[in-house]
Symmetry: D2
Subunit: 144 residues, 4 copies
């Protein structure tokens, strides 16, 4: 089962449905069941000291899984996060983009489960890990 | 064991250490091991349709526990979130503040665990629930 | 919306579908969206020192939510756990039963979410907290 | 930073401290920050239909991380699980061993975080994923 949307098509869809955040994220790679997504860090994502905030890390993990699911199932804005478990493990590097590497572990009829590692750009120890569940509206999901 | 800081003192401390978010949150109540915190919903928290975004809900849950811990242990900016598990259960009401009711279940020497229910203001079914763990720097925590 | 099954009816159903664990658990109370369930601690649940094991605490949290859901939706063995987040906060008292107090926060068409506090019998500080999501087969769930 | 204990040494330690479960698990591989651990499935782990129970899957994930930590920090029975988030994604194959592949993402002074994928032996789609946090007693952990 291949991708239904390319990275450019997913980016276009995100711009339509979430215009507020369209400049925050860049899809660096989108493959079957996998994606790499960058948070273009700006002032609004930072805490004193230049560290990226927890909510910004959460937002990156969340959108990375959403992007990966959209690539597999197509334009489906109603796909929603139902659960996220996130571990914050290291302080992000100051004033540095974050990069999320994510993969789907399950893409079922009604639920998708993915996991994400978040890195400060260029570092090899992850800042955070997250696992998320998405609920997919009936008749859109495609793989047990 | 009582509060070390009042709601006003915690609010003042938040303004010092997180000036970016000082207008986002209002501490409605702060008691021993409990707090109620409001997200003053603005345009930046919304998704199309007027729904509060997932990252804004996460941010509210996170700051609500942080506020409760600060009330108990005093001015300690280095207290950091290490884990959050959050369930998104219902769509928030459009253009409506969110209110988080949280309590600490454990305030140990090095770890605190709290849980939060998040409501759209005036509703009785929760939008989300979250549980969070905070790591507390040595020599600050006070209760097993 | 009331209970579809009494505590005795749920206990009978559990004995049918999970005969291996029928003696492990006692339903102490079952109400709308709530239950209290006891783990009858035996040698097989213990670690050296008489402490109840993590898997036994997990099993109690899991069955407590399952019992509460069954009370609301009726005999439905196919309801399955999809996610659990659990915090182990204190060491259980030695050789002492555990009691789980749980409530459902959502009972939707396809997903139910509940939370549980687990206590050593007679103590007032919880040993653990857990939140669980269950997937409910189509046409069984009843409440948004 | 290398291993402090070999797989055989960890197995010997587990037999000493958790004699109840010594036959349940086999350490198939132990490397720096990684391990593969088998659940030797027996009648006591099964539900009707021959499916491995949720608590047995949880127990496997938990012990797999514990084994990996012991390999890195040495004989330290007091290392305890503080949090687990687990997603149950597919029904295990009937009457089949489970194999957990785990790795540590962080081994800090006081907290370790690891993640696990659990497979029915010989299958390539995971039955479950879990992430766990362990608290390490002072003066035992070794790596930021």
């Amino acid at each position: 089962m291949g991708l239904k949307l390319s990275a450019a098509e997913v980016a276009e869809f995100l711009t339509e449905v979430f215009p507020q955040v369209k400049d925050d994220f860049t899809i660096e790679e989108l493959e079957e069941m996998r994606a790499t997504v960058r948070l273009n860090v700006g002032e609004r994502h930072l805490r004193p000291g230049g560290t990226v905030s927890g909510p910004a890390i959460f937002a990156l993990a969340d959108v990375a899984i959403y992007i990966t699911i959209l690539g597999m199932i197509g334009r489906e804005a109603l796909t929603v996060t139902t659960n996220c478990s996130i571990d914050f493990m290291r302080k992000p590097a100051a004033n540095t983009d974050l990069v999320a590497a994510c993969r789907l572990l399950k893409l079922g009829r009604s639920l998708a489960v993915g996991e994400v590692l978040v890195f400060s750009d260029g570092m090899d120890q992850p800042v955070a890990r997250a696992s998320l569940t998405y609920a997919i509206p009936p008749a859109k999901a495609t793989r047990a």
